[in-house]
Symmetry: C2
Subunit: 396 residues, 2 copies
């Protein structure tokens, strides 16, 4: 089995960013990892904690969904490309995600050299329920940066995302839609034609295999890829609880330039943008010139000499893990979307100093050991954070 | 002649901020300075350059306007108070203006203890041609800060200024209007009732004596007093050439907190606010809480530990000058409002590295010696700035 076929298989078997899987692939490579899952046995010599054993059970549940190798060839023939780490077309920025780097990216469209098109790129994201103002500004800035050769990356959603893609297409620019489902699925349904147009001029890409539907947590997992692909992220309109702020946080954690468009203080949909500027160090930008200035040469006025280069903030991204460390990371088990994780999330306070794990367990009605595992999962998904006092929910 | 009567006389004789007059008053006191002007002779022993001699001629032109001492008493009886440096009611913040501190302030209204009412105060300023959005936000923030005991200072103009005053009055708060004309003159005429209402709850104040009309440069001169009186300055709406930016620059030069309300990037009247945030280090604020937070405890997020206290940025304000230094400051002659100064201003480039004085002289068709004097004047009025290459017009 080639590395590429094995990585395709991994996109079917596991959710993106699974640290157990990353550890196995890092140590044994993708083909041996897939073989291990098929056989239901970890490679000889690996120290395997209980949590990894549970992960193995999850992965095997999806063995039935795994298409045979010739089906993968058929997918390629239908225009669904698979781009893998190590391929010269693999975007350099994704390496900053460390363990959370995608196993591979499925792509549909005219552009498959993702390394080339993301080298000078900006993520333009924002609220689905955008106002006329935000819609106008998103399209205008996207068109202007695209006309100067910058690629516009967004999430394909209604509202700001859609305007960013459309604005880019209006000047025949290159735009990339990063999906939270298979690249063959038109999501949202009303954007079927838009996504086809994006594919014509650029690419529709995804960590999930063709056919895979969206799920709530997949949008959050997807956002880290938008932030890591782009040279910087611009939020045009976002409420205080908008998913666009999750993308912004990833950009910030990755040390990439973070920008926001201001708006009326009387508009709830500008409140998130104003918070980015006030509290997250985001740069206020009012037009494409200022976006490009920020991406090209640090912040305006020369007060911030920081180079725009890639590279994670030290400590922000977990270092690569090998199976040798599995035992030490037994608390990092993850199982996206399950009932227990949701129950733990509901039990967390949204404000204040946080709750100790034991109290979270009482509120959730779950064993402390399970709660600890779910908290770790929620943290990976950026839904919970550690505090001096314990754990607290984090604005998604 | 008492110091107070002498200072009243000075407000009639000279324009505010005249460095020659400040030097004389600093050395000999106000009474001897007035006597010297009456006699047309500098005190014995003073080294007097040509420019100071010209200033003496200007001051004496206004001797005819000087009311006798009993007229000053009559003004006081009619409710026009005079507050002078040294009076416990004199606002401490004005001392940061150094040489440019007012000779005295005329006040009309219920409040004469300007020291007390400006201790916790915010200047709320902005464009005359405000939008509905800016008008709403100015009134709303003014009302909220005033309801919590903060004094609102503004310039009494149409637009944002008027909304700031009215918003304060709507919660029976204290507001101060700083005029660019005598406190008895309703300027603008449409604000006659508003200014009377301001006087009822607070004060209408001015550096110019009763009866004195407005003049274009007086607004700019007045702005430094607004900035110096207030604990901090908030710009609600301002175009890129708005006079409110002049007030903002004074606040910045004085080291006071500078804040701006964002707005649509599609609105010319928010462009100045966005520049303040992007290029001048102004804090983006969206409501009264954030204004008070900035005034009380440095910038949000704890990133800026700077105390909100008063005090000039080192070097930003010229040190006090005594007549001993007059000779060294012969290039600082000023003669507001004259044709020559306006001609020099027109000859200055608005962008680029600036023009050497000799070239400015050619463009202006004036003697280099005259140009030098006018440039110095324009600089005092914040209309021109020195560059490495010479001189450049400065956004007023």
């Amino acid at each position: 089995m080639s590395d590429k076929v094995a990585r395709a298989a991994l996109t079917y078997l596991a959710e993106p960013g699974d640290p157990w899987l990353a550890a196995l692939v890092g140590e044994y490579g993708a083909p041996r990892t897939v073989a291990a899952i098929r056989d239901g046995r970890f490679p000889a010599g690996a120290h395997v904690p209980d949590a990894a054993t549970r992960a193995m059970k999850r992965w095997r549940l999806r063995l039935a969904e795994l298409p045979p190798a010739d089906d993968l060839a058929a997918l390629a023939a239908r225009g669904y490309q698979l781009i893998c780490p190590g391929d010269p077309r693999w975007p350099a920025g994704l390496a900053d995600l460390g363990d959370a780097q995608p196993y591979a990216l499925w792509a549909r469209g005219a552009v498959t050299d993702l390394a080339a098109v993301t080298r000078r790129s900006v993520a333009i994201v924002g609220s689905r329920a955008a106002t006329a103002y935000g819609s106008y500004v998103a399209a205008e800035i996207a068109a202007s940066v695209a006309a100067r050769g910058w690629t516009v990356i967004s999430g394909g959603a209604y509202g700001i995302d859609g305007c960013a893609h459309r604005g880019t297409l209006s000047v025949s620019g290159v735009t990339v839609a990063v999906m939270a489902c298979g690249v063959d699925r038109p999501y949202p349904a009303g954007h079927r034609d838009l996504l086809d147009a994006v594919a014509t001029r650029g690419a529709v890409i995804s960590e999930w295999p063709p056919g895979r539907p969206v799920a709530r947590l997949r949008f959050l997992v997807r956002n880290r890829v938008i932030a890591a692909l782009a040279s910087g992220t611009l939020v045009v309109e976002a409420g205080q609880r908008s998913g666009a702020l999750n993308t912004a946080r990833h950009a910030s954690d990755l040390g990439r330039p973070l920008m926001a468009v201001p708006g009326p203080v009387t508009s709830d949909l500008s409140a998130g943008c104003h918070s980015l500027i006030r509290q997250w160090g985001g740069t206020l930008v009012t037009n494409a010139d200022e976006v490009i200035e920020r991406l090209s040469a640090g912040s305006p006025g020369g007060r911030d000499a920081e180079a725009p280069g890639r590279g994670p903030v030290p400590g922000a991204i977990p270092a690569a893990t090998s199976p040798r460390n599995l035992r030490g990371r037994a608390d990092l088990a993850r199982d996206a979307l399950d009932l227990e994780a949701a129950t733990v999330l509901d039990a967390l306070p949204a404000k204040g100093a946080g709750l100790p794990t034991a109290q979270v367990a009482v509120r959730a009605g779950l064993e402390p050991k399970v709660v600890l595992a779910k908290l770790a999962l929620l943290r990976v998904y950026d839904l919970a954070e550690r505090t001096d006092g314990g754990w607290r929910a984090r604005r998604g």
